[in-house]
């Protein structure tokens, strides 16, 4: 298939940035979206032009490094996948595809389609852990965890930290990301001990870093490549309320 691509180009964080238009031909429907950009870049290099910079690594939907708004949707038109898992069979001959970096105050653009998501690390550093040192812990089977609780924790723990929730949210809120970690550790006995301090510290760090508030529109859940449920946000709100009442 032949396509027209409108891609955001921005030399560095200070540059204003603009859309550039490229044409690309003979793309196989079995080609992945990022392979399509590889082909474009090969073409640009051969023409002596600057290739498009984008973030990617594992290319199997688990590292969370790829991003992109594709025609306005984080991770593109398919559901429950990351950009690297998107295949060109979701597009048709003659389509125009608009590709942009994610826009959020806490995710500044570094170059072209590459953004900085260091703010997520900082939120987790504020409390997204269980305080145990290496060694000196009890036997793994000494902590009994009901099957369903382990599954629930696993649902929340599936978050890949890509930031699609922030990109999808009109307020650029990180509530789903934060809630996934708070929820995972709040349902498990290992995490309960520090639950109150954790939720307060992580939420205050999230606010400090410039993420917006949650207005329950559910856009984050709709675009999350790992289908993480907004019920985790409800749990986090309860945890937060209880923690503050305890004070």
């Amino acid at each position: 298939m032949d396509l027209k691509l409108k891609i955001w180009k921005q030399k560095n964080p200070k540059d204003k940035g603009r859309f550039e238009t490229y044409n690309i031909a003979n793309i196989s429907p079995d080609c992945s979206f990022l392979e399509m950009i590889d082909i474009l870049n090969e073409q640009l290099i051969n023409e002596g032009k600057e290739p498009v910079a984008f973030d990617h690594d594992c290319r199997e939907g688990i590292c969370g490094m790829c991003s992109l708004y594709i025609n306005g949707r984080p991770h593109g038109p398919d559901d429950d996948i990351t950009t690297c898992q998107l295949h060109m069979r979701k597009f048709k001959h003659g389509d125009t595809i608009t590709i942009e970096p994610w826009r959020a105050a806490a995710f500044p653009v570094v170059k072209d389609l590459i953004i900085e998501r260091n703010a997520f690390d900082k939120i987790l550093q504020a409390g997204g852990f269980v305080s145990v040192n290496t060694g000196g812990v009890q036997d793994a089977n000494a902590i009994l965890i009901p099957h369903d609780t382990a599954e629930e924790a696993m649902d929340a723990a599936s978050c890949i930290g890509c930031g699609a929730c922030v990109a999808a949210c009109k307020n650029s809120s990180a509530m789903l990301f934060v809630a996934a970690k708070v929820s995972q550790l709040a349902v498990l006995p290992q995490g309960k001990i520090e639950a109150a301090a954790r939720v307060k510290n992580m939420i205050s760090k999230m606010d400090e870093l410039g993420f917006g508030g949650c207005t329950n529109t559910g856009a984050c859940e709709a675009e999350c490549p790992k289908s993480i449920s907004i019920s985790h946000i409800a749990r986090m709100n309860r945890e937060f309320l209880c923690a503050n009442i305890q004070d």
Binding site: A53, H56, N133, H147
Partner: protein, 645 residues
């Protein structure tokens, strides 16, 4: 030829590590604060080491090339992690895990190191559970296990098909805790360029800040490389796009020996190649072989009809299918080790029984769905099935998956002694980056075990043994001669790459190298082909240095320049792999020399001549490397022909 000393402690197998721990040197807490440790890489090895060393009180600096430490490729490991807990009461023990690992590695690993790995495996599970890793549980609340290749017991702990992710997020959370406390400093988007050696000891690194393009220098009393494997030398592999061999290769050029470079693992269950534009291959977890059955059509004519889409695999009656692993290896069936399963798939496809493009076999879940119900299969493998469907547009609940072997893991790596120290004092290497524990073939679910064993439970002891003698070493200025000189060399090389201004892209060279490696140093190797590769690779390297085209400049975010540096190193590393494969005139594990096979096509080992680790020392750019040997004199295990029948 010189012989290497592994420094394995004396004594009985089961006592070696305890003896070591009770007699190694210690560093007192106030001195730990004065000691700096550099760690490159934040996968399971790097993140766990950084967390554990930070907790002990050392000053740790950690570097990764991604935008966050959580992106490291350990995250993509799917199936599970082994441990000798024997929670299933099915006969497991530390000795059995040790024995399976030695046997799985085709008797080419070091007894003492592998025993230690099996010994600490149980602590890893305890540690991860304490961190809140949501391993699968049964209905009584206890931990669940599954089976993996090369074992007859169920000892693999798992978190759906995302075990690597959950373990890495556990290590990352421990790392985050130390970053918050200030004991670990995290540097992201940094690509290591070189090791700085001062008076014979590793004392720092030069890294490139990928976002700004600037070179930066950092001092450490010791340097730890946790940089993963070099499977991307093949271009197409299951590794992440950024996974590379450059840090270990630069260390090699600074004097660290490279052991068994030709030992590469080709994983049997990957989604087959489908086009020239393809950038990577996707693994389908080995855990699928617990319930999936592998087959090809018995008759070539049926295979042809299926390839031409005149026949659907689901319509082929049972008696016309060849479940070749169950037929050839009745004792282990579909759960034979990876090297055996991969070769068997290649053999069937080469004989004309392949499906899809001809280079694929079926992995069928119809029986499992009948036996367990679709819901149970979905709970166990749901995310893998979804991943498969998104890539291939076929639904594995209705039609069998197609799979083919692909490059997955490298058992070779920097040579390390029992302390995990390379041949450069103060330079450590952990996880996949070293050669240590898997011999000629790694068993499934053992990579995660090794990464975390090295980082949480081995390195914190062994590095202390070295650092105890460094408490009087003052921090060395990064403006000192050695730092400045190393930085200049890195800078010169980058400028040289940029000044070529040729006609061909970096990727085009990488693809050509990959084809040479896969053709001549892949699943089957022979003398003629290896010699051919030894002729082709230097020519390709020469062409690269004359005609590569790198757009942009050095002082900006320049992904093409990053790739160029990595491919330049792969073009040298690939040659060493071929040289090593040529030297090893035996078949063992993942290294299959076609001249050396039994009558029924199994690998034929030669213990008389090759029961050693081949460790290569760099001698200069235009000189042949020198081979050292570490003799694998087994004290406790009797070598036998591997038999999975």
């Amino acid at each position: 030829m010189s012989v290497l000393n592994s420094k394995s402690p004396e004594g009985n197998l089961a006592e070696k590590w305890s003896n070591y721990k009770s007699s190694c040197k210690l560093v007192n807490p106030s001195n730990k604060r004065k000691l700096d440790i550099i760690i490159i890489g934040t996968g399971l090895g790097g993140a766990s080491a950084a967390a554990a060393l930070g907790e002990l009180g050392y000053n740790v600096k950690v570097f990764c090339y991604q935008d966050s430490p959580r992106r490291a490729h350990s995250i993509a490991a799917q199936g599970g992690i082994n441990a000798a807990k024997n929670y299933q009461n099915d006969g497991d023990s530390i000795y059995r895990l040790f024995y399976d690992t030695i046997k799985g590695g085709d008797y080419r690993s070091r007894e003492a190191s592998v025993y230690r790995l099996a010994e600490v495996s149980n602590s890893i599970i305890d540690q991860c559970v304490a961190q809140g890793v949501p391993f699968a549980r049964d209905y009584g609340g206890l931990l669940d296990n599954r089976s993996f290749g090369g074992a007859q017991v169920s000892r693999t702990f798992y978190a759906r098909g995302q075990t690597g992710q959950q373990l890495l997020l556990g290590a990352y959370s421990a790392l985050n805790r130390q970053i918050a406390k200030g004991s670990v400093e995290m540097y992201y988007r940094r690509d290591m360029q070189d090791v700085v050696v001062v008076d014979g000891k590793a004392r720092g690194v030069v890294v490139r800040n990928l976002a700004t393009g600037k070179l930066e220098k950092y001092f450490g009393h010791a340097v730890v490389l946790a940089t993963g494997g070099y499977g991307n030398v093949f271009y197409l592999s299951t590794n992440a796009m950024g996974s590379n061999g450059s840090p270990v290769w630069q260390a090699y050029k600074r004097g660290a020996q490279f052991a068994n470079p030709c030992f590469t693992q080709i994983h049997p269950t990957c989604i087959p190649v489908h086009g020239d534009y393809q950038s990577k291959l996707t693994l389908m977890s080995e855990s699928l072989r617990n319930d999936g059955r592998i087959w090809v059509p018995k008759d070539k004519s049926d295979a042809e009809k299926i390839r031409n889409k005149q026949l659907s695999p689901t319509d082929l009656p049972e008696e016309k299918r060849d479940y070749y692993l169950e037929r050839r290896y009745p004792a282990f069936g579909n759960l034979v080790p990876r090297d055996v399963a991969s070769r068997a798939a290649k053999e069937r496809c080469d004989a004309g029984h392949g499906v899809g493009t001809g280079l694929a076999v079926y992995l069928d879940f119809a029986d499992a769905i009948k036996r367990l119900g679709k819901e149970n299969v979905e709970e166990k493998y749901g995310n893998l099935f979804q991943m498969y469907e998104k890539i291939t547009d076929e639904n594995p609940y209705n039609t069998p998956m197609m799979i083919y072997p692909a490059v997955h893991y490298t058992m070779g790596g920097l040579w390390v002694d029992y302390n995990l120290m390379t041949t450069v004092p103060g330079l450590y290497c952990i996880g996949e980056a070293n050669f240590a524990d898997h011999g000629a073939n790694r068993l499934g679910a053992s990579a995660l075990m090794q990464g975390l064993a090295d980082g949480y439970f081995v390195l914190p002891y062994t590095i202390g043994n070295f650092l105890a003698d460094e408490i009087h070493t003052k921090r060395i200025s990064i403006d000192s001669k050695e730092f400045v000189e190393t930085e200049k060399q890195v800078n010169d090389r980058i400028n040289k790459l940029m000044s070529i201004k040729g006609k061909q892209s970096v990727d085009s060279f990488h693809k050509r190298l990959g084809k040479i490696m896969w053709e001549y140093c892949g699943m089957g190797r022979n003398e003629e082909g290896l010699k051919k590769a030894l002729d082709l690779i230097p020519k390709l390297r020469k062409e690269f240095w004359q005609d590569v085209k790198i757009p942009g400049t050095t002082d900006e975010f320049n992904p093409e320049l990053e790739k160029a540096g990595r491919v330049a190193d792969f073009l040298e590393l690939g040659e060493l792999m071929v040289r090593d494969a040529l030297n090893r005139k035996e078949s063992c594990g993942g290294h299959f020399r076609e001249e050396m096979q039994t009558e029924d096509g199994e690998a034929k080992r030669d213990d008389e001549n090759f029961a050693y680790v081949a460790s290569w020392e760099y001698k200069g750019d235009n000189q042949d490397p020198e081979m050292y040997k570490e003799n694998l004199d087994y004290e406790f295990v009797k070598r036998v022909q591997r038999n999975y029948k």
